[in-house]
Amino acid sequence: MWGVIYVLPWLIGFVLFFFIPLLASLRYSMSTIQANAEGIAIQFNGVANYIQALTVNTSFNRALIEAITDVLINVPLIVIFSLFLAVILNQKFRGRAVARSIFFLPVILASGVIMTLESTSLIDAVNQSSTGGSSLGTFELENLMVNAGVSDWIVTYLSSAVDRIYQIVSQSGVQILIFLAGIQTISPQLYEASKMEGATGYEAFWKITFPMVSPLIFVNAIYTIIDSFANNAMTELIRDTGFVKFDFGLSSAMAWVYFLAIAIILVIVNIIFSKRVFYQD
């Protein structure tokens, strides 16, 4: 009874601003919509919008595939990177407080307009090109690895990761926080005991830290996926189709295809993780 009262504000909002719009959007996606002075006229037309999005529209497929590959490439990098940094930031060293506050700065700065404007800044572009094409000089590193017999595919992946280091760092703020909080809940006795048994730091990480935070790896993977899907070329395209070209039907159909794609990825990730995650209780 009391529970209902506490949840009620959310429930009203959920119905008004989420559930009804969700159904409406599904309906729009299967309709032709004409907006005129009296309001909007909705006419059912089946899957025509979906067909148009997938086969006629020139940029939809490309944007969708780009968005998905981007996520598939970035998520493992971000998760591994943020776990690594959380472990480092958890160690005791001089200047730890400063380092922590710097690493969480991107949580505050990296979003929305600022990122978009940044990528169009001429001065940034000029400064970048003056430091020489590939910004951190990964060319030599690539050669080295290829000569050492590392497979081409891995080399490209890693060197592209180095080139996108700013993007990765700036997208991992929240994830580092989550991992850091998780690591700090691990009881210190575990580490003490393992040290007595003669485990090295490396072993302690793989035998204690890693299994203990593995549920958080799942959480972070999901968070990263959702976060990187929230704002990209695909959402831009959907918005443009809706609010610039006023093709609400097509825009809704695109949004639903997009949502389904995300849902499928989330389900796959869920299946992969549900078998491997270690739960303490």
Binding site: G3, Y6, W10, I12, P21, L122, V169, A181, A255
Partner: protein, 315 residues
Amino acid sequence: MTTSRLLSLEHWKGWLWAMIRFVLITGLSFVILFPIFQKVSTSIKAKGDLYSAVVVWIPQNFSIDNFKEAIRVMDYWATLFNTFALSATTTLLTTASCALAGYGFARLKFRGSNWLFAGVILTILVPPTTILIPVYLNLKSFDLMGLMTLIAGKPVNLLNTYWPFILTAITANSLKAGLYIFIFRQFFRGIPKEVEEAAYVDGAGIGRTFSRIMLPNAIPSMVTVMLFSFVWQWNDSFYTTTYLTSSKVMSTQLSSLPYNLAQQVTDGAASQADPFYLSMIQDTGILLAILPLIVIYLFVQRYFVESVERTGIVG
């Protein structure tokens, strides 16, 4: 003999790791701070320094003209005030409504509450883009199930007002609210049941227990939610540029900054604008937009980092 050598080996390993760690952290910190330094450096340059080959970081001629220009074009002070008011309002309302919902889901189980919580998760998973158009149309002629027609005679247009933000914030459905409910739920679940039972035994009702016992305990998670909510509202371009096209808030001003600059700096003759000079003012504008956030962060960061660690996002 062997033990001492082993000891020194351990010592060297420790030292080496500290070195590597130092280089890594310094390097990555630099990567994060570099764009900010660059903007600061750009913003205090005089126009002439742009083409001077001598100037890289520290300008030859300091000048605050860029700031003056950016402040004028962005209508900075009014924008700052509006953005602050909007973010603060939504932050307070969102925190309150999400704390209520989080507590309800964590402790006051009722029939179907698990299903409703699945609804919360759904709001996190569905991209906002999917429901943007219906919500937009809904707000454009907001009717609240015929209620508005009853009172005002016709549906009201809520676009370009703060109402969309206030309404979604009160009802815990604003930007990323699902995440905040999740954080609160996790936190309240972590508080021992005995605390609550003791309060009940002492004769406190549910409302009183919540406001006197649970909320004061929840301050760490409240700090986290408030900071996230404030900052993400401040930076949000997704909803703001859709709902508030003509109001002066930071993110709409920023996104129209390149256009406004080209219009105003050169008195409308866009073709005569020097793109580098425009870019310079644009960078100053970005700096001005994020400056308040950085200042706030400097004050709360220690508390914030600590609070997240105790928030129980982790469960």
